[in-house]
């Protein structure tokens, strides 16, 4: 067939090693330009927060830019800027990542800075209070200014009810205001350690050079050994059932939109099912020839429709189907359109569709060889979720091994059993 992946054995030119303190280091070579991408993943995210302290993982991510014993106050930003480093960080439900794009001559410098703030964080009370205000403003800017975003946060909470995934990453308003410096430092001391992290260096460097530098800067940091996770992995309540339908009429909303969300398998809860779902998602709504586009958008039943399978998480994943209904369409029918499409797609799926979808999915891996940033994030995320390097390098096998029956069983089971929430957002006043 159309096997574009002629260089598959070398999907990543990557090697890994563990330092004595448990830090996992992965080096991926790409010698196009004298640059490197550094990504440091910590295996901690919003799901590790205890209830009432939502937003803590994210606030700590901000505080990591506010000074250490050796690089006080905001000197870090100044040094990064002077040295032409593009840098940022993000917090997700599952992980926290700090990343830098650098000229190769500044690689050592950013490794020093990352190693330093892994263990030497030292923030003043003023810096803490300032950053608390900043994350509050960030929350307002990203969520509260926009009624649809605020509504999505509510729905997210309904889908995940009492599980740690219910925490909004930005934190609830009242929670953000109540967080203390001691909360942040406690979280830092508990989770920021070499044996709870993965370092990826991707770019114009050999594995030997990369490992030596990692040893030089991170080697002396003590391991934690007994990281006491608070993460509660009992997801039985959301994996088995409950179907919700919510209609909401919002300000500043001019067109209806509908979303169907399911709690779904993830690469950690059930890898086989997770990859089956990812393939189904690709068939169902991710490309221009997918079922949703051909059967609904091109036939004029919906203006736009798409889906996605969020399978890379420590707990269960999520499957979304989102659509924009035709103007003046009937609300009761809108729901039926989406849920029927899902059922019909799985009935009409043929084994040859699955083979075609597999080939399409695998052909794109060739692009990972071009961009060291993509390679670093992919390697780092999979490694931080706990996958071995060999598994990651043979990633296509996960897709290759999915059978037609796996897809049918996985999707049917999800439709019947998983908790799901259907929402209709509509204008407060019809246009």
């Amino acid at each position: 067939m159309f096997f574009a992946l002629n260089a598959r054995a070398e999907l990543f030119d990557a090697k890994e090693m563990y330092l004595n303190n448990g830090l996992r280091v992965i080096v991926s070579e790409n010698h196009k330009a004298p640059v490197a991408k550094v990504v440091l993943f910590y295996k901690v995210g919003a799901i590790d927060e205890i209830s009432g302290k939502s937003g803590l993982a994210h606030l700590l991510e901000h505080l990591m830019f506010r000074g250490t014993k050796k690089v006080p106050a905001s000197n870090l930003n100044e040094i990064m800027h002077q040295n032409g480093v593009e840098y940022n960080a993000y917090t997700s439900a599952d992980l926290t990542a700090y990343h830098e794009t650098v000229d190769i001559s500044r690689l050592e410098l950013v490794l020093f800075l990352e190693a330093d703030r892994m263990t030497n964080l030292d923030i003043s009370d003023e810096a803490f209070e300032g950053e608390q205000k900043i994350v509050f403003e960030e929350r307002q800017q990203r969520i509260d200014n926009n009624p649809k975003s605020l509504f999505n946060e509510e729905v997210h909470h309904i889908l995940w009810q009492n599980t740690p995934y219910a925490h909004p990453i930005a934190g609830f308003k009242d929670d953000i205001k109540r967080l203390t410096k001691e909360d942040a430092l406690d979280f830092y001391r508990r989770y920021y350690a070499p044996d709870n992290a993965v370092l990826v260096i991707s770019g114009d460097i050999t594995p030997k050079e990369g490992f030596e530098l990692a040893q030089k800067y991170f080697g002396k940091i003590d391991k934690k050994s007994d990281i006491q996770r608070r993460f509660d992995d009992d997801f039985s309540a959301v994996l088995s059932g409950g179907k919700y339908q919510i209609e909401k009429y919002l300000e500043h909303t001019n067109r209806k939109n509908i979303v169907l969300r399911y709690v779904a398998p993830s690469v950690l809860t059930d890898p086989k099912k997770a990859y089956a779902l990812a393939l189904f998602s690709s068939y169902f709504g991710e490309s221009q020839n997918s079922y949703l586009k051909k059967q609904l958008v091109e036939k004029g039943k919906l203006v736009e429709a798409s889906c996605s399978a969020d399978i890379y998480s420590r707990g269960p994943g999520t499957f979304y189907v989102a659509a924009l209904p035709i103007k003046n369409s009937d609300d009761v029918q809108n729901f039926a359109v989406l849920s029927d499409a899902l059922k019909q797609a799985i009935e009409r799926l043929m084994p040859e569709d699955v083979e075609k979808e597999k080939n399409k999915n695998m052909s794109w891996f060739v692009y990972i060889k071009d961009n060291p940033e993509d390679a670093a994030f992919f390697l780092g995320k999979m490694a931080a979720l706990g996958f071995g390097l060999e598994d990651i390098q043979n990633y296509e096998k996960n897709i290759e091994n999915v059978s037609f029956d796996d897809i049918q069983n996985t999707v049917r089971e999800m439709i019947e059993k998983s908790k799901n929430v259907y929402t209709l957002c509509a204008p407060k006043e019809e246009l």
Partner: protein, 459 residues
């Protein structure tokens, strides 16, 4: 006696120990020197060898190529200038956007479903988009599919099927997007800003166009669009990746073999841009106030470009270490971020900026902006601020070569802005030759007049 000696020796010993410990402690506190780490680093700076070649095509067009074989991929970027949404006729506003969207529904030998299957199975990325002034095409393909990729592109671009049923899909999506333009406050603010700044000039429009025009645009309008816009005179081409000069010339000659050389493409009139409108607010119930502000900037080839670029970096362009963020974000905690950037468009160049803050903080935030702005004009920048930005620009030079699509975009930009084939070889000299005096002169000149501010919220 001996006891006393031992006592003194011990005391001296402990004192020495204490001093030594203090010394170690202080050294540890101060043993960080960023410059030293860089100087001692085993990994020394290298400059990416950017050998940009020029290819002359049969029809006379030039293409710029950077051959680079580290990955078996090729990235192609080209655009038809004077073909963006600002060039749509007054009665067909939204046409350029529709013309871009409908191309992915097939052309020539490739019917809609087959086209999209082939693209996916062969990992060919194909994308059409419009800006205010140009129509952009970008394609990235694995090297072993390159012939197929160019065959597909030629049919799709020059023999589009333009089926009525596909036009209706595109129309429905665009009308929905027009309806949804007012949902997000940032979008409302941006739309209003273009209106007050450009007045009735076509640059004030959005790519989506007007509802009444999009409702009646037909196949004949689309055909007319391609005939008048897709011509040699408007074409700018860039290629990067695993391809030789000869291969690239052959492929591009094939792709553009039937391209007419010219048409009567029009130029836009100079806009009478309003840099000094009175501050006003768009009323909207929300917790924050979003602000957008503007002042006069420079065109890309202006003598002041690098000097003003550096001044702007120091003021608000460099992220967390800019003056604006150091005061408003880091010191006062008023905002998640305040940013400024140079918009170097050739019609009405600007220093543009934006911030968001809780409504009770708005007046304070506004005052900081205006005070810092005035300080730029009155006192300029310091030597160390200047050197920091210069260093940043020199050490970040190589980052633009991260991926092949990045490189191709860069080559296209260089041609659009007339920077010269040897720009990448000279760019660091341009930066090094810019002086502190020039930066301060630019600060004095461009920050002399306070920015015009537009807000949304209920401040």
């Amino acid at each position: 006696m001996i006891k006393k000696v031992i006592y003194v020796v011990l005391n001296a010993f402990f004192a020495a120990l204490l001093i030594y410990a203090l010394y170690i402690f202080l050294m540890q506190k101060n043993d960080f020197d960023a410059q030293k780490i860089v100087q001692n680093s085993a990994l020394k700076g290298k400059t990416f060898e950017a050998n940009v070649e020029e290819i002359t095509l049969d029809g006379g067009n030039k293409a710029w190529l950077l051959a680079e074989n580290s990955a078996p991929l090729v990235a192609l970027e080209f655009c038809f200038d004077k073909s963006g949404f600002a060039f749509d006729d007054d009665t067909t506003q939204g046409l350029a956007q529709m013309a871009a969207e409908i191309l992915s529904y097939g052309g020539g030998r490739y019917e809609n479903t087959r086209l999209n299957d082939l693209l996916e199975e062969n990992a060919i990325e194909l994308d059409f988009k419009v800006s205010s002034d140009a129509f952009f095409v970008s394609m990235t393909t694995p090297k072993n599919n390159i012939k197929l990729a160019f065959d597909i592109l030629k049919d799709v671009l020059f023999l589009p099927h333009l089926k009525p049923e596909h036009l209706e899909i595109v129309r429905r999506k665009q009308l929905t997007a027009i309806d949804m333009q007012n949902e997000k406050p940032e979008k409302v603010l941006n739309k209003e800003f273009k209106k007050v700044f450009y007045g009735s000039h076509p640059l004030s429009r959005s790519a989506l166009g007007l509802k009444e025009d999009v409702e009646k645009i037909d196949i004949a309008d689309l055909k007319n669009f391609y005939q008048t816009r897709f011509v040699g005179d408007n074409l700018i081409i860039a290629v990067a990746g695993d391809v030789t000069k000869d291969e690239a010339a052959h492929l591009l000659n094939g792709l553009f073999s039937d391209l007419p050389s010219s048409s009567e493409s029009k130029n836009l009139l100079e806009p009478d841009a309003n840099y000094q409108f009175e501050e006003y607010n768009i009323n909207r119930d929300m917790p924050q106030v979003l602000a957008h502000f503007v002042a006069k900037g420079v065109k890309r080839l202006d003598d002041d470009f690098y000097a003003l670029y550096i001044a702007n970096e120091i003021f608000g362009g460099s992220g967390l270490s800019s003056r604006l963020n150091l005061i408003a974000r880091e010191k006062e905690g008023l905002t998640y971020g305040a940013y400024t950037y140079l918009n170097d468009n050739k019609y009405a160049p600007m220093i543009e900026g934006s911030f968001a803050t809780s409504k009770e903080n708005y007046q304070k935030m506004r005052q900081i902006l205006l005070e810092e702005w005035q300080k730029m004009a009155d006192f300029g920048v310091t030597k160390s601020e200047f050197e920091a930005v210069q260093n940043n620009m020199l050490t970040s030079f190589n980052l633009r070569f991260m991926s092949l699509p990045d490189i191709a975009s860069q080559l296209l930009y260089m041609q659009k802005k007339h920077l010269g084939l040897d720009f990448l070889k000279k760019r660091n000299e341009y930066v090094k030759n810019t002086t502190l005096n020039q930066v301060n002169a630019a600060a004095k000149k461009y920050f002399a007049i306070k920015p015009a501010v537009l807000t949304i919220g209920n401040n």
